[in-house]
Every structure is written in C-alpha cells, then in structure tokens.
C-alpha cells in the first residue's frame, strides 16, 4: 500500500499536535495561577504535562519517518521529536526525584530554541506565501522568543511573569497550529504559486 494513501492532510496533524500543546499550556497556566504547592497536591498532576511532552515527542517520530519529501523536513521533524522527548523525560525525572539538579530544567528552553530554529529553517517560503508558511514563521519566532520564559523560570521558579509567559507561549503555539490550513490565504493574501485553496 503506498504510504501517501494513508497520509492525512498536514492540517489534521497540526491540529492534533495543537491539542497536545494546548494541554501543556493549560496545565502550566493552572499551575502558575494556583501555585506549585496547590497544583501538586494530587501527585499525578505533577506528572501530567511532562508525560504529555514526552508522549508528543514519541508521536513525532512517525511524522519524521513517513514524511520525507525533503531532507530539511526529515531533520526538522527529528529535531522536534528529540527535543520534546528530552524535555519531557528530564522534567519527569525531576518530578519523580530521580534527577536532582535544577540544570535539567534547561532542557525546556533548549527544546524551545531547537524547535523554533527548526521551524524557521525548514520553512522555505516567505511569510505571506500561504497561511501554513505564515504559521511556521510565527511558530518559530514565538518559540525562540518564548524560550526566555522557561529559561527565567529555571532561575526564579516563583516569578509569575516567567510562569505565566511560559504557559501562554504554549497556548499561543497551539492557537497558531489550530489556525493552520494546507493551502489557505493569510490576511487575504495567497501566492498564486501555492496552489488552489482546499476549501
């Protein structure tokens, strides 16, 4: 069976990963609002978002291996898979007490930076080429700028600015991914080279 015949539209996969980022963002937002002590009163809650991050990384591998229309895409998907797995695994280790050094928290800003760079490098089209191109550029810069929040949280865990910004970065990322369409205009503009809108 040809692999292309079982490939869903890209927008569906974007949306499904958006669900994951929304869960991450909302969990972190809740933790930022009520405080870490209250959030972790139920032990399982502490494991929730790191598990989601780790699982999303694991589920990115099929995307990498099956979507091979260019080397850049393969490398970008691979970078996301590894960055999410590493960040999720490190935070699970911290939550469980298996890891004790706070420096492991730097895996999250590292994941943001690597993922943002991968978004920007693998998107070959300019911002206004189509909505998906716009979304990729926006995701890239949101992640790179947003890396400051988990970086700051590493050194000042109680700062509401860092905690809130960290959570909202992921919510914004989810919104951008939910807005994705395979071929659709952005601000009324669609490059004639992008093909016909799908709907």
């Amino acid at each position: 069976m040809p692999i292309a015949s079982v490939q869903p539209p890209a927008e569906h996969v974007h949306w499904l990963f958006a669900v994951g980022f929304l869960i991450l963002g909302l969990c972190l937002l809740a933790e930022a609002i009520v405080g870490e002590a209250t959030w972790r009163r139920q032990a399982w809650r502490a494991y929730l978002w790191p598990s989601v991050a780790f699982g999303m990384g694991l589920l990115m591998w099929p995307v990498m291996t099956f979507f091979t229309s260019s080397t850049l895409h393969l490398l970008a998907h691979g970078a996301w898979a590894q960055a999410m797995m590493l960040a999720g695994a490190a935070h699970l280790g911290l939550v469980s007490g298996k890891l004790r050094s706070r420096w492991w928290q730097l895996t999250m800003p590292l994941a943001f930076l690597v993922s943002g760079a991968a978004f920007l490098i693998h998107e070959a089209n300019p911002w206004l080429f189509s909505r998906s191109a716009f979304g990729h550029h926006l995701c890239g810069w949101v992640l790179i700028a947003g890396a400051l929040f988990p970086l700051g949280k590493t050194f000042n865990a109680r700062s509401w600015v860092y905690n809130g910004g960290y959570a909202l970065t992921l919510v914004v990322l989810a919104v951008v991914l939910f807005a994705n369409r395979d071929v659709a205009p952005i601000f009324g503009h669609l490059s004639p080279d992008a093909g016909l809108p799908h709907r």
Binding site: I3, V6, G20, T65, F66, T71, S130, A133, P192
Partner: protein, 441 residues
C-alpha cells in the same frame, strides 16, 4: 469509551503528516519504480505548486548512462513538467529531476522505472556510486550502538539481574540509553548518506532533495522507517524502566524488541538476496550474538569491573557462560553464511569480499584466543587475577570493536556472484559505472 478515544487520538497522531513548503512532487508518469511493458514517449512530473522548469529539468538515462531525454518544458499552468523521450529499448532507466519552486529554492529528486524489466531500487540508480568510506564508518558506529544497547540489556537482565550499587546502576543506564539514542541518530545519518548517494547532490541542494523514493521504495528505506520507530519505542521503554525502577516490566520488552529490530539489517542487506529465509535468519543470529558478546564485554569491563568489586566474580562467571553460547552461535551462523556467499574456497583470496572476510576471520581468531585465555587460564584463578583482568578485558573488547569495523566494510561489499546473474536490480548501476562516469565526478 475513554480508552477507545485515547487509542483513536494516539493512532491519529501516529499517522504521518505532509507540511507545506517548497514544491512537492505529487505524481510521475511512468510511476516511481514502475515496470512498464510499452516504452513511454515522455516523462511527466506533477507538483503541488507552480514550478519553473529549466531545459535540463528532467534527465533520463539508460543503464549505460546515455541520455535518452530531450528538452524539458512546463505544462498546465506550470504544475507539470514534461520531457520527451527517444524510443526506449527494454531495460532500466533513471530519471533525475530538478525544478525551481516559487520561493526560489531548487527541489531535486531521482526515481527509476523499467521497460519490460523490473525497475532497480533508486539506491542502484545510474550514477549512484555505492557505499563510501563514510558509510562504512557510520555502519560501524551503528553496530557499536546496537552492541551497547542489546549487549548491555542482555548483561543486566541475564548476568547481573539483581540490585546493583548506585554507581554501577548509573553506568548501566548511561550505556544502554546512550546506545539506544545513538542507534536512532546513526540510523538517520546512514539513511541520509544512502539517499545522498542516490540523489548525487551537493549538500545545499540535498537539503531540498526528495527522499521519499529512497524511504518508501527500497528495502533499506523501509528498514530505516521500521527501525527508527522501533528504537524510539525502545528508548521510551528504557526511560520508563529507569523512571519507575521496574526493570523486568520494561527492560525485557526493550531487549526483545531490540533483537527483533536488529533483523532489519539482515532483511535489507545481502542476506535477503541469498537463498531463502535461512540466510536472513543466520545473518540475524550472527549479528545478535555479536552484539550480545561485545556489549556484554563492554558492560563487564566498563560497568561492573570499576564500580562493583563484590560482583566481579559472579558477573565474570555468568558472562563467561553467556559469551560461550553467543560465540558458538555466532561462529555457526558465520560459517554457514560464508558457504552461502562464497561459491568457491578460492574466492577467499581472489574476490574482494573474500579478502575482507579473511581479515575478519583472523580477528575472530584473535578474539577467540583472548576468550580462551580468559576461560581456561584466568577463570580458575579469578580471585588472584583482578588486576590482570582490568587490562585484558578492554583488550578483548578492542578486538571486538575491530571485528565490527571489518564487518561494516564486509556488509557494504558485494559478494561474488553465484551464477550468471540476470540481475535487473543492481546491474544498471554496476554497468553504468564501468562504462560511464558518475555525473558528480
């Protein structure tokens, strides 16, 4: 109901995606890897976006590297590019294409088709030069990674299954988790090197090269997909084993899965070209036993010996038994494979494959000598030989590392043919190399 929803979500997420970027090849006529009975008059490529076609946007070459295509031109609103063909004889053909996307980037790709014959895989397309030194090194690193993963797991579960001192446990996790991650990373590099060889592109152009014909239409590509996904799962199992400290629940599945995935190398290499399933099975046994031996040796020398003095004696005895069994199976499978792949004894010194095999046999004899020294001389006096063993164990391991390097070169080499080959697969590339230069040279 909840479980069904979760399963459906996970399945949906597991399906692959196609993200928009530069122009993507959507269709070809003739199809990629297709066998057509009637010679086509043109090659037509369809893209998802408008593209600009240069005069040499599509080049079609026969088995000897002769150009059989004309000037390329765009069709139908620039979503298609076509090139007319000279009358084609029966044989295999290689199509190399390049187009300019609207963003200015050049997309490139390669595929093959056959007229009246089976199309060769793209890794044997005209111009592909075959395995390079880089590929030998990468395959060697892949073997080493597998040895760290499989041998380390086997050692932990079979040789020292009980609780370990903290420092020993930490070294074990570094060894197997490092092995698992390295297996994935090196596998990706190996795939890219093979694809780069098939596409014959410089690095900057290769970044936009279409890898799907290599990934989806070759045994190597399918093995890459299965092994990458499988070893990602193995990594997750190892991580969960570390996190929850439930070794048996996670490490046994990881070991069984890793051993099964190692068969991907056998099913995508020479073994699959030989007669029947037995050859592939023997190749897998050979590889699996080699990784158990070398990885176990590394575990003994690097994990247990420096950090757990109280465990040395028991670990050495138990590993000695495991290694003996692994070596016996490894040798049996190796002898069988040698008879399979070398039609005559004289091939050992007349054929390139045979000469590499001779080197490997020599190194295996050296390793066997070390193993016999440890088994017959050191083991009876183990309590008095700890200092000696701390030097000789790494030495035996280094011989094993050298064996894997030679094995990597051997796997990338072509065994001598058993009989006159009708060979529609690899023959075009071989024939082409003999008569025409590679386009990159």
């Amino acid at each position: 109901m909840r479980q069904a929803l979760v399963a459906a979500l996970a399945f949906s997420l597991a399906l692959p995606a196609a993200a928009s970027a530069h122009a993507t090849l959507e269709s070809t006529t003739p199809g990629e890897g297709a066998r057509v009975e009637t010679a086509p008059r043109a090659v037509v490529l369809g893209f998802d976006q408008r593209v600009t076609a240069l005069r040499d946007a599509i080049e079609v070459r026969d088995e000897r590297g002769r150009l059989v295509s004309g000037v390329a031109h765009a069709r139908l609103d620039n979503h298609f590019v076509a090139v007319s063909l000279a009358p084609l004889a029966k044989g295999a053909y290689t199509v190399r294409w390049k187009t300019i996307s609207a963003d200015g980037h050049v997309g490139r790709g390669v595929f093959t088709f056959g007229v009246g014959v089976k199309a060769p895989p793209v890794t044997s397309a005209w111009g592909a030069s075959g395995p390079t030194t880089s590929e030998h090194v990468v395959r060697w690193l892949y073997f080493l990674s597998l040895a760290a993963l499989i041998g380390g797991l086997c050692f932990r579960l079979v040789v020292v299954p009980g609780a370990l001192p903290r420092a020993t446990e930490r070294r074990f996790w570094w060894l197997v988790l490092g092995g698992a991650v390295a297996t994935i990373e090196v596998g990706i590099v190996a795939f890219l090197l093979r694809a780069e060889d098939a596409l014959q592109l410089p690095l900057t152009a290769f970044l936009y090269g279409d890898l799907s014909p290599v990934a989806n239409a070759t045994r190597f590509g399918k093995a890459f997909i299965a092994m990458t996904l499988g070893f990602a799962l193995v990594t997750a199992l190892l991580f969960l084993g570390w996190l929850t400290e439930r070794r048996r629940a996670f490490l046994w599945p990881a070991l069984v899965l890793s051993l099964g995935l190692a068969s991907g190398l056998s099913l995508s290499g020479h073994a699959a070209d030989d007669r029947g399933w037995l050859s592939s099975f023997a190749d897998w046994v050979h590889l699996a036993c080699g990784t158990v031996w070398l990885g176990g040796l590394a575990s003994l020398a690097v994990v247990v010996w420096p950090t757990a003095a109280a465990l040395r004696r028991e670990a050495f005895w138990r590993f000695s038994q495991l290694a003996g069994l692994a070596m016996a199976l490894l040798l049996a499978a190796g002898v069988y494979l040698s008879f399979q792949r070398l039609p005559a004894v004289s091939d050992l010194w007349t054929a390139g494959y045979g000469r590499i095999l001779l080197v490997k046999i020599g190194l295996v004899c050296a390793a066997g000598g070390w193993a016999a020294f440890h088994h017959f001389l050191v083991r009876p006096r183990l309590d008095r030989s700890h200092a000696l063993l701390s030097r000789t164990l790494p030495a035996e391991g280094l011989v094993g590392v050298a064996i894997l390097l030679v094995a990597a070169v051997l796997v990338d080499s072509k065994p001598p043919p058993r009989a006159p080959a009708p060979s529609l697969g690899a023959a075009p590339a071989t024939a082409a190399k003999a008569s025409a230069p590679s386009p990159r040279k």
